[in-house]
Every structure is written in C-alpha cells, then in structure tokens.
C-alpha cells in the first residue's frame, strides 16, 4: 500500500502586497453555499434535545395562563411585565439590566470553560437554522440529493420540492412571529384577531417583521450571521485560553492523513505510514459553518460537535479508537497538563454566583410599593390661624403588589409634626395621589429648610414599608 501524500492545508496568504504579485485582491469573500450533511451521534442527540426543549419552551410559554392573564406577558402599553406570579413595573428596569449582566457573565463563564458552546447548542440563530436544515433534508433529500437538485434546471420535481421547502420555512417563520408577538399581547386573542384583521396594526408589523427575519436568517443567511454579523464571534476569542475546551482535531494522531483500504487494520495502517485521518471529508460536510476543523481552531467554529460525531462514526467503521476529533484543550493536545479549575474560570464563577444570589435576594426582597413626595411648588409655606407653619406635599403612591393595600402615612424629622391625612388606599397595580398638609410649630424651625422623612407602611403587611426624604420650609426664627 502506497502512501498518499497529504495535502498542503496552509491557507493562501491574504491581504499581502508584495511586488511582483499581480492578483487583484478583494476584501469580500464570495459566499459558497454550504450543504450540511446530516449526522447522528452522541453530541447531536444532546444538541437536538436542547433545541427541542428550547423551542418547545418558546412556543408553549405564551399559552400558559396565570389566573386570568397570560403567565408571561410583557404588557408594554400597560407598562406592566408579568412573569408568573410576579408583576414588574418600569421603575424596576434596573432588575432587567441586572439580569442581562448576569446573562453576559454566564456567557463569559461558559465561554472560558467550553468555548463557543452557547452558539452550537442554544443560540436561537443556530436552533432555527438547524430546524430549517432538518426540514430541507426531509423535503429535498440528503446532501448529495440537494447538490444535484440545485444543479438541475427547473422541473416539476424541483419546483415542487423548492415550493414545499419555502412554504414550510415560511410557516415556521409565521409561527415564530406570532409566538414572539404573543409575549407582548395575549396570544389567545391574538390568534383569533389576526386572521379577521381585527388585531392592532403593530401586531401585524411585528409578526411580519419576525416572519421575514426568521425566514431570511435561518433560511438564507445562516452561518453568515455567525461569521460576519454576530458580535459575540468577534470577542469570544479574548475569553479563550489554553485550558478552554475546544473542538479540535488531533493532528499528531491524524497526520499524515490519507485514504486507505478498509481492510487495513489500525496497526497495519500505522506501519504503512498512515495517520488515523482517512481524509473522508465528512467532518467538513457536516459543518454548519463550512470550515475544515483540521485546519485548527477557527473563530467560525460554533462548537456544535457535528464533526466529532462524524469522525467518531468513521473511526467506528474503521475499527480505530474514537476521539481523533474531540473536545479537548490546547494544553491537553500538546500533552501538557490541563487545568480545568483555573483562577479565571473560578473568578467568573464566583462573580456569577454572587450576582445570581444578589439578584434572587433583590427580587425576593423587593418591596412592592413606591412613592414620591413632591412639595407644592406654588407656595413656600403657609401659616395657619393657630400660628402653625404648613407645607403641602403631593404623595404619588404606586402599589406594585398583586393585592390592594391601605398604607399608613407618617412623617418625622421635626418635633411636633402633624399630618392631616394619615392613610391612603391603593388598588393592586395602580397609583393614587394623596395631598397631605404637614404642620409644624414655628418654634421648632431653626433654619429656613429642614429635611423630613415620609414613611408609608402597609397596614396588613409589615414588610411593605418605604421612606422618602422631603424638605419642610418655614420662616427661621432668628
């Protein structure tokens, strides 16, 4: 058996201008269509399960009800954000920022640990692309069939298959659009109103918007989004280190690659000078971003492990040990010791845990009451006939709880402060204005302006208590 020379895989130099070289260089790589081959295997099973679970969650959640409202309902016109039992209001947007920061740190942590796995297993762009490719496979056939079909001139079979594929894609996109809008307006009424043209104009716009972009992103753009548009692709590399789990081809074991007879056993192949790579190109054909993992770590790799499953299946067929392409680290590949628990990872983990705990505490401990105390602007102060100084305040009280409350109003900060209104009732989720007049004895006023504190205390619930600072103005006794 003669050794087949391995090919030069060094990429041609780009962006280099040396005298004598007369190639017209272009900054824009022409896109070649990627025909993704379907592959079975352990990681694809994990990936598919994750995808189905996520999609099921996405499509079903808006249909769940909590009492007489949707369980998850971001009611933008009403400025109320319902998530199961809890209702959040715009003032609590800081919680959303916290949640987003936590998600970002989660992404940093998982990236330091295992590279771009978010992309391969959970990113909506990947999930929908995989779904679209899955449909493509069912309708147009396997990779080879699809390549052949695209080369054919238009005929009845091609027209039928293409039409069916695009219809299926559009149907899924429509479902996606409706579901997405269903998070912002109750989906049960939405699906009744959409066909009868009774829904709000914006509902049609956003359903259409997500229909078009789901169709374009998952049907046409696919890996272009991951490679050229996604900002994460650009900065994920700074979170990588030599101990990050990456999908990698074991060059030491695989090279020199080459095709060989299947009858050759592992040891015979070794003796004949072959590495373990049989150069079947399967790892390239299954890659959704169309890269050759044997070229080394590339930023296009979304760590979906399709190449691992493809290579393992070939290794099994050949009777070779698995793992020529595997999840490993740069250090491990070079035979060095790999440290999973390293300061960087632990740092991210600690930050993540602290923030999750703080967030959970903040959400759990948040007081469903907010109020503002606004001093009357038209008059500094008044004097009553009894000779007391009065200041008037408007208290805007927002009950953020799911039940009505009556709040006790009190004020402190000066001796002998008295209030004319000492309680206010506010229905669940509403706000009320209560005007209060605060009286003070002029003898107690040593300065023209004194800080005072309003306290609102729910009558039924000791936990619900808020304070606000205000100023009390009056003539200073000299």
């Amino acid at each position: 058996m003669e050794k087949i020379p391995s090919q030069d895989i060094t990429p041609p130099p780009v962006g280099h201008h040396t005298p004598g070289e007369s190639t017209t260089q272009s900054m824009y790589a022409k896109r070649r269509h990627i025909y993704v081959r379907e592959i079975k295997g352990l990681f694809q099973k994990v990936r598919r399960s994750a995808n189905w679970a996520l999609m099921l969650g996405f499509f079903l959640l808006p249909w769940l009800n909590w009492g007489d409202r949707p369980a998850i309902w971001f009611d933008l016109p009403g400025r109320e954000f319902h998530i199961f039992a809890a209702t959040f209001y715009p003032q609590e947007f800081v919680l959303l920022s916290w949640l987003l920061i936590i998600c970002a740190f989660g992404l940093f942590f998982i990236t330091v640990f295992a590279g771009r796995v978010w992309c391969g297993y959970t990113c909506p762009q990947s999930v929908w692309t995989f779904l679209f490719i899955w449909l493509e496979h069912r309708i147009e056939g396997s990779r080879n069939h699809r390549i052949k079909l695209d080369k054919q001139p238009m005929n009845a079979d091609k027209a039928w298959r293409k039409g069916a594929k695009h219809s299926a894609w559009l149907l899924i996109s429509l479902a996606t659009g409706i579901t997405f809008v269903g998070y912002f307006t109750p989906i049960r009424t939405l699906v009744m109103e959409l066909p009868t043209l009774e829904a709000h104009g914006w509902s049609y716009f956003w359903v259409g918007f997500f229909l078009v972009f789901t169709y374009l992103n998952a049907g046409w753009l696919r890996e272009q989004v991951c490679i050229y548009m996604c900002p994460y692709a650009r900065f994920q590399s700074v979170m990588f280190d030599r101990d990050t789990l990456i999908v990698s081809y074991d060059e030491a074991r695989g090279e020199p690659r080459g095709r060989r007879k299947k009858s050759l056993s592992h040891t015979q192949a070794r003796e004949a000078g072959f590495g373990d790579c049989v150069d079947c190109e399967l790892c390239v054909q299954v890659c959704p971003t169309g890269i050759d993992i044997r070229d080394g770590l590339q930023y296009e790799c979304i760590t979906c492990a399709a190449c691992i499953d493809a290579c393992d299946s070939v290794m099994d067929k050949m009777g070779y040990p698995r793992g020529l392409i595997r999840y490993t680290t740069e250090n491990a590949l070079e035979g060095k010791k790999s440290h999973i628990l390293r300061p960087r990872l632990l740092g991210y983990f600690a930050a993540l845990i602290i923030m999750v705990v703080a967030f959970a505490w903040a959400v759990n401990d948040r007081i469903p009451l907010s109020f503002d105390a606004e001093r009357e602007r038209t008059q500094l102060y008044q004097m009553t006939r009894e000779g007391q100084i009065s200041n008037v305040y408007s208290l805007t009280v927002r009950n953020l709880d799911n039940e009505p409350h009556t709040y006790q109003i009190s004020v402190s900060g000066l001796p002998s402060l008295t209030l004319d209104n000492t309680s206010i009732s506010v229905p669940a989720g509403e706000s009320r204005i209560q005007v209060v007049t605060v009286l003070a004895n002029p003898q107690d006023l040593s300065q023209p302006s004194h800080p005072i504190t309003f306290v609102l205390q729910a009558q039924q619930d000791e936990q619900i208590r808020q304070e606000r600072e205000a100023r009390f103005l009056g003539n200073a006794r000299r």
Binding site: T18, G20, E21, Q379, R385, I433, V435, N475
Partner: protein
C-alpha cells in the same frame, strides 16, 4: 409681520434655508462622485495605490468605496430629496403631504378629546351634591382640579395669600352648587376700593373696629370711633354688622378669616394695607378653558371638600 420665528419666514430667510439645504445635498453628491474610484487593479509592478499614509510601515490602501456602500449613499440622497418633497424642510414650502407639527398636535388633542369626553360626559347629568359623593368621579375630578386649580388654590385646596380656602365654610360668593358653578363658569372679580382719602387716623380707627368684629385684640377707643366711618363707608358692601354679602363677594369680617394675610403678617397690618390700597381679586372664567363638562365635575369636587372633616 413675518419674522424669523413667526408663522412663516420672510422670503429672504426661506430662500436662505432652501439654498443651504439643497446646496449641502448637492455638495455631498459632488464629493461622492468626484472622489469616486472604481479602478483598483494593481499597476504593472503589482502595487496597489496607497493614500501615502503610513504608520509603522503599514500603508493605507486607496481603495474604492465598496459598491453597496456607494449605493447606500446614493439612496440616502434620494431619500433626502423625497423627504423634502413630502415634508416641510425647504423654508416656507409645506410639502405635498401637508404635514405640520401643529397639525399633529391638533390631531393628538382631538384624539384625547375623543377618548376623555365620554368619561366627563357620563357625569354631566348627575346633580352636583350626588356627584360629590361618587368616589370614582371625585378621583377623576381631583386630577382635573390638580391640573387646573391647584396652581392658585393649592393641592390641598386650602388656598393661600389672596386665594380663598375652598375647604372651610366661608364663601365669598356662596358655596351652594349653583354659586360654585357660576364662579367656575363665569369667573369673579373681587374689588375692594382703596380708602386712602379717609386719612391715616380714620384708617387706624377702622382697622381697630374691624379687629373688634372678630373679637381680636384691639384698641377699644379707636374701634368705637371707627364704627361710624364703617357704617358710612363699608356697610354698603360688608353690611352694617360686617357679615359680608355673597351677592357682591364682600367678605364676612366677623369670622377671623383673612384672605390677604401673608405668612408672618399680623391681621392688623393686613387690614391696614387693604384699607389703604384696596384689593383686586380675579378668578378667571373656567368654562372657556376646560369646557362645561369639566367645570361640572370640578364644581362637584369643590362641593365635596366640605365632607372631608
């Protein structure tokens, strides 16, 4: 007369804006096309032309703008021209869509009227004493009050210097529903003439007499000599007993309620000031501002304030 900030521009400023706007667009187009390079093939030596800028040996290519970029620029120019045809942007030219900020504002006001009119209309037929007991209606009314009346009468309706307290039982023009409606719809002008001509001594006597009417600390002797002047000059409006007259809006002087007593000012000083200089109170007619439906609701709100104690 037209001026720069008026309803429309003088033809000079209009032309000025048109020239600048169109000139800027023309200049942008000229820069775009005049600097357009399409040729990016290397020369005979294989060198691609550079801009001559170099930093640490790295040179900047003088490449053509990418086609999509160039086309996007052209599109923005077309968009700008289309916009200027449709919308007002060129001086006095109104645009073929006839859009204006004022028109948009009017539309929004009309929208709001359409939404809120039924809310106010439903209360229109309910008599004021009954409406004043309707907590939901009073919640709406309080908003109207806070937006339109609180500036003078205070958020708590207790008034202030020169602005009557609406929560007590003292009414300059009467506190019955029809009185309140009359005040709100047509406004009031409360005029107290100046009595400077009586002379300081008489004014002091009158002041002491007025203080005595409310049983305040006073100089009995001066008050006694003030009585005759009061009966001659003041009784016509304030009545001989000083209890006031709601037909004229003349205040009751016997109840120790003083409209013009500034914080820290003594009653005597306030009365002296009133007598010397007179007073001029003005309650604007509200029907013209907020409409009769809101007036009805606010009247009920003012009426309801008496239930608060």
């Amino acid at each position: 007369m037209n001026n720069l900030w008026g309803d429309s521009l003088s033809s000079f400023w209009s032309a000025w804006i048109i020239v600048i706007t169109l000139g800027t667009i023309a200049l942008s187009v000229w820069i775009l096309f005049a600097n357009r390079r399409t040729d990016k093939t290397p020369d005979a030596d294989g060198n691609v032309e550079t801009t001559g800028h170099a930093a640490d040996g790295i040179e900047e290519y003088d490449n053509a703008l990418p086609q999509w970029w160039f086309k996007l620029f052209v599109l923005t120019v077309i968009f700008a021209l289309g916009y200027l045809v449709l919308y007002p942007g060129l001086g006095n030219y109104a645009g073929i869509l006839g859009w204006s900020q004022e028109g948009q504002w009017e539309e929004e006001v009309a929208d709001a009227e359409e939404r809120f009119t039924p809310i106010f209309a439903q209360y229109q037929e309910i008599p004021i004493p009954e409406l004043a007991r309707d907590a939901e209606a009073m919640r709406v009314a309080e908003r109207v009050y806070l937006n339109n009346c609180a500036v003078c009468h205070g958020s708590n309706a207790q008034g202030g210097y020169g602005f009557p307290d609406l929560t007590d039982d003292d009414w300059l023009y009467g506190g019955e529903p029809e009185n309140i409606m009359m005040t709100l719809n047509n406004g009031r002008n409360g005029l107290m003439p100046a009595w400077q001509q009586l002379g300081e001594s008489n004014i002091e006597n009158l002041t002491q007499y007025v203080l005595s009417l409310s049983d305040l600390e006073h100089d009995a002797e001066r008050a006694a000599s003030g009585e005759s002047t009061f009966l001659a000059a003041c009784a016509a409006c304030h009545t001989p007993s000083g209890t006031g007259n709601i037909a004229l809006g003349a205040p009751n002087l016997t109840n120790d309620i003083w409209l013009y007593q500034a914080p820290g000012q003594s009653v005597a000083d306030s009365v002296r000031q009133t007598l010397r200089n007179g007073r001029n109170g003005h309650m604007p007619a509200q029907a013209a501002y907020i409409g009769e439906e809101r007036v009805h609701l606010v009247a009920a709100y003012v009426y309801s304030l008496r239930f608060n104690d």
